[in-house]
């Protein structure tokens, strides 16, 4: 039996096909179960929850005098704002990957993979800049004794503080990559596999 022999049998399906009953409106209301849609939903949830939490914390800090200078809460708010930006970028990335293939499936796979790699590079740079700025701001704040809650950390010897900072900076790419892999790892492997199959 050859593949050409099968053609006729395959096309018989066109004549035997009687149509199926489905409700288009109901289908269109349903959720897609693919990995990209799960990510999209997760990012959307985060983009609702994080601004609400950040707004609540900001409101709490401003309305309670005792919390006005709580550096931990303000740092958390700052971190949330950075995360909101990160999630927004990720949402845009997922939306881009869900766009239909304009030229051909292989090109679309390559484009998606390229965009994912570019995105991880940008995330690494973005979070590194954020951490460095944060650490410099922390040291400056402590030097001028602007925030009382940092005094305990300021009492720690400078060389130890520098070792901790260095450790954080060294660790950051691994953490960023870890989370990126958690989200897109399987998808990247699948894309690479498919590109190899199509080459």
């Amino acid at each position: 039996m050859e593949l050409d022999d099968l053609k006729q049998h395959w096309n018989k399906a066109d004549q035997q096909y009687t149509g199926s009953d489905y409700d288009l409106n109901q289908i269109l209301k349903a959720k897609v179960n693919g990995p990209l849609d799960s990510l999209r939903q997760a990012y959307k949830r985060q983009l609702i929850l994080l601004p609400l939490t950040a707004a609540f914390l900001t409101f709490s800090c401003l309305s309670h005098e005792t919390l006005n200078y709580n550096a931990l809460i303000w740092s958390a708010v700052l971190m949330m704002l950075i995360l909101i930006f990160g999630y927004y970028r990720n949402l845009k990335l997922v939306r881009f990957m869900q766009q239909p293939a304009e030229h051909g499936i292989k090109q679309k796979l390559e484009e998606d993979l390229q965009v994912l790699h570019k995105n991880v590079k940008q995330e690494l740079i973005l979070y590194r800049i954020f951490i460095i700025v944060f650490l410099i701001a922390l040291e400056v704040t402590m030097f001028y004794n602007l925030v009382p809650s940092y005094t305990k950390w300021h009492e720690v010897m400078l060389p130890i503080r520098l070792v901790v900072y260095a450790f954080v900076i060294i660790l950051q790419p691994y953490i960023t990559r870890y989370f990126f892999k958690q989200n897109y790892g399987q998808y990247i492997s699948r894309l690479q596999e498919l590109i190899a199959q199509a080459s």
């Binding site: 022999d5 199926s20 269109l28 849609d37 293939a101 051909g104």
Partner: protein, 237 residues
Amino acid sequence: MISVLLPVVSCASAHGTKFSANTIITRIKENTFFIVNEANVFFYLPLTKDKVFLFFCNKSPPCPTNPANIKSLENLNLHQTFEQLLKAHELLVYKICRLYGDTEDDRKDLFQDIVIQLWRAYPKFRGDAKFSTWLYRIGLNVAITQFRKQKNKIYATDIESLNIAIADDNYSTEKDEQFKEMYAAIEKLNAIEKAIVMLYLEDKSYDEMEEILGISNGNLRVKMNRIKEKLRQITKN
């Protein structure tokens, strides 16, 4: 705004197709329809077997310069043309589902995913390529990259058993047994090879395959020969 009670005109004809000349009807919920014609825009809500509730939104024709009317009419047309195109090409979607879904549940799932992605992408369909080419691209892309086989899935809609005769026939003769073996062999191919085989069986030219898959003509021919050889080996074993 006027609300009136009228006898049922025709429930069946109100579903999805033209109600009368120049009237567009779209189903909003199970028993609620949004109806637009030259004179009125209204909602149709059956109350009992012989009475319907017509809720008029406006008595005058939808003003073409009003952006809100233009948008709703555009959406209505978009939905209607999409439904018609999908109906005309649904067999292609079923064939993709049959090829990439291992079980009946997988196929229903994949059908749902492909239709949703087609609908999302449809407003950007410019008609540069044939609708079938565009559908293959999106359908295969969903099946290959975005589809996740799931267990214990609850369906949002009850899609009737997918009526595809391919490989689901009762094989009685020796020839049919060979067909069955061949389909089983195709299932063992990788995702891209399956796509190539499907387009080949659909009698697509290499140029069309290139347009859909984005793999060069020459490469496709080489792959096709390899696939044929691979299938020969699998069926021999």
